[in-house]
Amino acid sequence: MNGPFDFTLALGDDALVAAQRLGEWATRAPEMEEDIALANIALDQLGAARLLLSYAGELEGAGRDEDALAYLRDDREFRNCLLVELPNGDFAVTMVKLLLLSAYQVPLYTALAGCPDERLAAIGAKARKESAYHLDHSALWVKRLGDGTDESHRRAQAALDQLWPYHHELFAADPAAPVDPATLRAGFDAVVQPVLAEATLTRPETGWTPGGGRDGVHTEHLSFLLAEMQVLHRAHPGARW
């Protein structure tokens, strides 16, 4: 990555793809309160995505707005991390994924709020508060699942084992970016470790560290997600909605 455009686009894509996955839960959550909470978090992520993509479009200066960037790029042009595009799986997979994502987004947006770029600073200041709620919500559920029943513990540990390798990509160094992701690692660890301990979950050893999302080299899941997300928009070129 280089430059504020790539950086802004990558953060916008993280939020957009996360929102798309969370939106898939609507009407499927384990209880009605959770349907509301997941829709709420999806809306926050989508709101952040819209601000970031709109600004990325302005930085690029090629006339692309939020919808052109969301609906008219292919998967090789998306810059989101792999973590957010992985399928929802069961509720434990979704909550562990949200814990990892929000434990990264809270220090990220906090740092962004203090960066010299005024637009990014304003977006960071707004999104930071929302991410703090996402972190509280996912941390509470990871504790409930980890320290709940044998079945929920087993599922939560399996989710953590499955997703842990993907979090390394979030902290790949990028000294030229407005916020170097490598500097966020300590903040992430300080939040995640106590949650895992309270949840009686074992942190996996570092082994395989998949990556490539920031270069547009994704898992096989993303192009299906985009096919669904973009189908109607692409079927009516130039239409207003």
Binding site: P30, D67, R144, G148, S152, E228, W241
Partner: protein, 361 residues
């Protein structure tokens, strides 16, 4: 909340209805301020007291005496209303992942979230009558309680999301505005809140159709097709014609219902005709025309045999909607059990810590 980014009022459909909601809310506040004679004097006839409250257009509250049949009718009606909100999330939820712009996606997500919230208010209102939400959800999942027939129709195109907002939410509001004045306090208060949000959704749906109807030829055709498919199912939402409606007379006497099915249906048709003209869409009824004598539109009645088939489980999506709801409930069982087990462990630990403190002290 997202989705609030609309120009205010202007050609807001159903604007007059919102005025009625405001009036009902003001009346509710006045009734609360106008201290009731208090509860019935000891030894007085509770049935006479109940009748007085109804006559005086005051509100029955959860701890008041009420006839068993009044309680049962309300439980059934409020629960079915709640179930409708929950099942009603599905046809629209079907388009969240494919919404054609990020703004529309945000608005739709917020709407589906509001519906879950309406379901919660309504279950809470039903619980004031002494039945638990879990019991009511069981009744829904077992197929022993119904939800609105309209949600058994499929959303086949994006325009259907607009048609649901305009027509289905529109019909719901026409139905629910009088319930803002119904005799049972918790239900009336829930309806005031629901109607305000529904009228907002209706305007959003209308805006979706307006944009499509003024868009490309393919979009216009999509909008007309949606109206063609949703018009009669929406008219059928008001229930069977007055002659066949089983619960009407008693509900009217108790001031739970305030207008008959046919009166509300007429009000809805009269409201829609002008709006369809502004949209530039054609209501699919060749016999629709103004009747000067009645000062209302004549229109073709919906097919009530079809309504009965849909209510009895043979609509296009009945099985799918129930299967979806049952699966979500079953798939979430281990999560709810985990939450219960975790809460019990926490409570146990707190008790143990309290005891240690006592021993130490």
């Amino acid at each position: 909340m997202y989705g609030n980014d609309f120009a205010p009022e202007q050609d807001a459909p159903g604007g007059g209805l919102l005025g009625q909601v405001e009036a009902a809310e003001a009346a509710l506040r006045e009734a609360a301020a106008r201290a009731r004679e208090g509860s019935p004097t000891p030894g007085a006839d509770p049935a006479a007291y109940f009748a007085d409250v109804i006559d005086a257009d005051q509100k029955i509250e959860p701890r008041d005496w009420m006839p068993d049949a009044y309680r049962r009718t309300l439980v059934r009606q409020i629960a079915q209303h709640a179930h409708s909100e929950i099942i009603g999330m599905q046809p629209e939820g079907n388009w969240i992942s494919r919404a054609p712009s990020l703004k529309r996606k945000a608005i739709l997500l917020a709407k589906v979230q509001d519906e879950a919230g309406h379901g919660l208010y309504l279950y809470a209102a039903a619980e004031t009558l002494g039945v638990s939400r879990d019991e009511l959800v069981e009744l829904l999942l077992d197929g022993r309680q119904k939800y609105s027939s309209i949600f058994n129709y499929p959303t086949l195109t994006w325009a259907d999301v607009g048609a649901i907002g305009w027509l289905v939410d529109g019909a719901a509001i026409v139905n629910q505005v009088p319930l803002c004045r119904c005799s049972y306090g918790p239900y009336a208060r829930a309806m005031i809140r629901v109607c305000k949000e529904e009228s907002f959704h209706q305007r959003q749906g209308y805006e979706i159709l307006h944009t499509l109807a003024h868009g490309t030829p393919a979009q216009q055709a999509m909008a007309q097709d949606a109206l063609d498919r949703w018009w009669y199912p929406s008219l059928a939402m008001f229930g069977p014609p007055d002659g066949d409606s089983t619960h009407s007379a008693q509900s009217m006497a108790w001031k739970i219902k305030r207008f008959s099915n046919d009166e509300l249906r007429q009000r809805f048709v009269d409201m829609c005709v002008q709006q369809a003209e502004v949209l530039g869409l054609r209501i699919p009824d060749p016999d629709l025309r103004w009747n000067d004598e009645r000062q209302a539109y004549d229109f073709t009645q919906p097919d009530y045999d079809e309504l009965m088939r849909v209510i009895s489980g043979e609509g296009p999506c009945n099985r799918q909607r129930m299967e979806h709801r049952r699966r979500a409930h079953a798939d979430g069982a281990w999560v709810r059990e985990a939450a219960t087990a975790y809460a019990a462990k926490r409570a146990g630990r707190t008790r143990a810590a309290d005891q240690r403190e006592k021993v130490a002290a």
